[in-house]
């Protein structure tokens, strides 16, 4: 099976400043990966390389079986849906629906298909009620969701998101989690840059940690997020649910809230009463 995304010894510099050193990893269809690390570690550069906005200095970035060196961003839009930071600034159409349908229409997909993809993307993020509104009439948090819907509507094989949850409250973050899990069940690969380890725990399954341009860590989040000794040198801290699992020694050391609640209930039932 061809990986949805593969970095092969990628090195990249902005002018004289080296940003990525020999980065190699692969993501399979349906896999949900978090790209973690301190600010300045090179995460946004990874996104730009995948979108085709930059070419690697050395090595190759493969999106499916396409070498990004041979592609321009508008071609890669067939396979990759990218949402950058401050995506709420890219909205332009008169209505949210029109903006979301911009992507599939630009790809030249037939009108009925454009409608279907737009409706699905809006529904996935509970934005259908706002579909007829002007984007700038919405609060910034909902504009961010509209920008995400625009990427979902491309129905790409790979979704690459840069900090999708900044400015969102818990309810809106839950919407994003649901939408992403739903797509991943349909074999869409996910690569999400995030500082929000709680969101990562709920939504993603594997963690790639970048440290000064190199891969410091590539492992399942379930184990990584509870391990203070691994996280601390990388400037990260276990999210509360993972820390709770460790502190209470819950079986399976769950990192997701629902799993932790179930484990907690099970253990509590088995304990002698107070």
């Amino acid at each position: 099976m061809i990986p949805a995304l593969r970095f092969d010894g990628v090195t990249f510099s902005y002018g004289a400043v080296a940003v990525l050193h020999g980065l190699s990893f692969a993501i399979t269809p349906g896999e949900r990966v978090a790209l973690l690390g301190k600010n300045g570690a090179g995460k946004s550069t990874v996104v730009r390389l995948i979108a085709g906005l930059e070419r690697p200095g050395e090595g190759t970035v493969w999106v499916g079986d396409w070498n990004t060196r041979d592609c321009v961003p508008e071609q890669l839009a067939w396979r990759v849906g990218s949402v950058f930071q401050h995506a709420d600034q890219q909205l332009f159409a008169r209505t949210v629906r029109e903006d979301v349908s911009f992507g599939p229409r630009a790809l030249g997909v037939g009108e009925p298909e454009v409608e279907r993809r737009t409706d699905r993307a809006l529904a996935d993020l509970d934005l259908t009620a706002h579909a007829g509104h002007h984007p700038y009439d919405l609060p910034p948090a909902l504009r961010k969701l509209a920008a995400l819907a625009g990427a979902l509507a491309l129905e790409p094989a790979l979704l690459v998101l840069d900090e999708p949850t900044i400015g969102l409250d818990r309810a809106l973050r839950a919407r994003v989690t649901r939408a992403l899990l739903d797509r991943s069940a349909g074999s869409v690969a996910l690569l999400v840059i995030t500082h929000d380890l709680t969101f990562a725990a709920e939504t993603l399954e594997r963690g790639l940690v970048l440290d000064r341009g190199s891969l410091a860590c590539d492992e399942p989040l379930a184990g990584l997020l509870g391990d203070v000794t691994r996280l601390e040198p990388l400037g990260l801290a276990p999210p509360p649910v993972a820390a709770l699992s460790v502190a209470l020694d819950l079986p399976g050391r769950p990192v997701r809230a629902a799993d932790a609640a179930r484990a907690l209930a099970r253990v509590a039932r088995g304990r002698p009463g107070p």
Partner: protein, 221 residues
């Protein structure tokens, strides 16, 4: 660019005197001289930042004029417009907005007016940065800047609209945000690094003003 930096007011005086003289002095010789001076100034800022933008911005005017007027009139007005455009491009590339505000503050004049002028100059690189980000985001959604005319117009709309909308939205927020940084009208600002002025420059500025007035009087006689 080597040499000591000129005082901001001197830069303003030059950028104001050239277009003024272009319109006052008899065409086409007057316009030709001032346009030549203005273009040389833009060239001193380099091809990319100076000469090219000046030429690119002035060119459509020449085309438009030729459609409306005969050749002599086109040349006469075209040279004047070129002077104006080139002077402004040179000013935008040379004048450091912070120095202008500092110079204004050092004189004890209102900082808000200076800031507004300075902000229009800094708006350009900021908008350019944002425009680049918007172009990238739209290309990643499949927008191709190539292709048929219909395609290109759609592309333009997808690029220009978000730029304008978010910029306008920002202006709203910025006016508020500036107040949060203490920019209240009537406030007396402390100059941090007032640009040095010299008697020579002051004299030169007066001389430019006198030259413009003299030229005006001479033309009106």
């Amino acid at each position: 660019m080597t040499g000591r930096r000129l005082h901001p007011f001197t830069l303003l005086a030059i950028a104001g005197a050239l277009p003024a003289l272009a319109w006052i002095l008899p065409a086409p010789a007057g316009g030709a001289c001032t346009a030549a001076v203005a273009l040389v100034l833009t060239a001193s800022r380099g091809l990319r930042r100076g000469l090219w933008p000046a030429v690119l911005t002035a060119a459509p005017f020449w085309v438009f004029l030729r459609l409306l007027h005969d050749v002599p009139t086109t040349i006469a007005i075209g040279l004047r417009i070129t002077t104006m455009v080139a002077s402004f491009v040179w000013l935008a590339a040379t004048l450091a907005p912070d120095r202008l505000v500092e110079a204004t503050v050092a004189r004890g004049w209102s900082v808000t007016a200076a800031y507004l002028f300075a902000a229009t100059i800094t708006a350009v690189p900021m908008l350019r940065g944002r425009a680049r980000r918007i172009v990238e985001a739209q290309r990643c959604r499949g927008l191709s800047p190539r292709g048929s005319l219909g395609n290109r117009l759609r592309a333009l709309r997808a690029l220009a609209l978000p730029l304008v909308l978010s910029a306008l939205h920002d202006v709203d927020e910025r006016a508020l945000a500036l107040e949060t940084r203490g920019m209240v009208s009537g406030a007396r600002r402390t100059p941090l690094a007032p640009p040095p002025d010299s008697a020579v420059e002051r004299a030169a500025r007066w001389a430019l003003l006198v030259a413009c007035v003299a030229a005006l009087i001479w033309r009106l006689k």
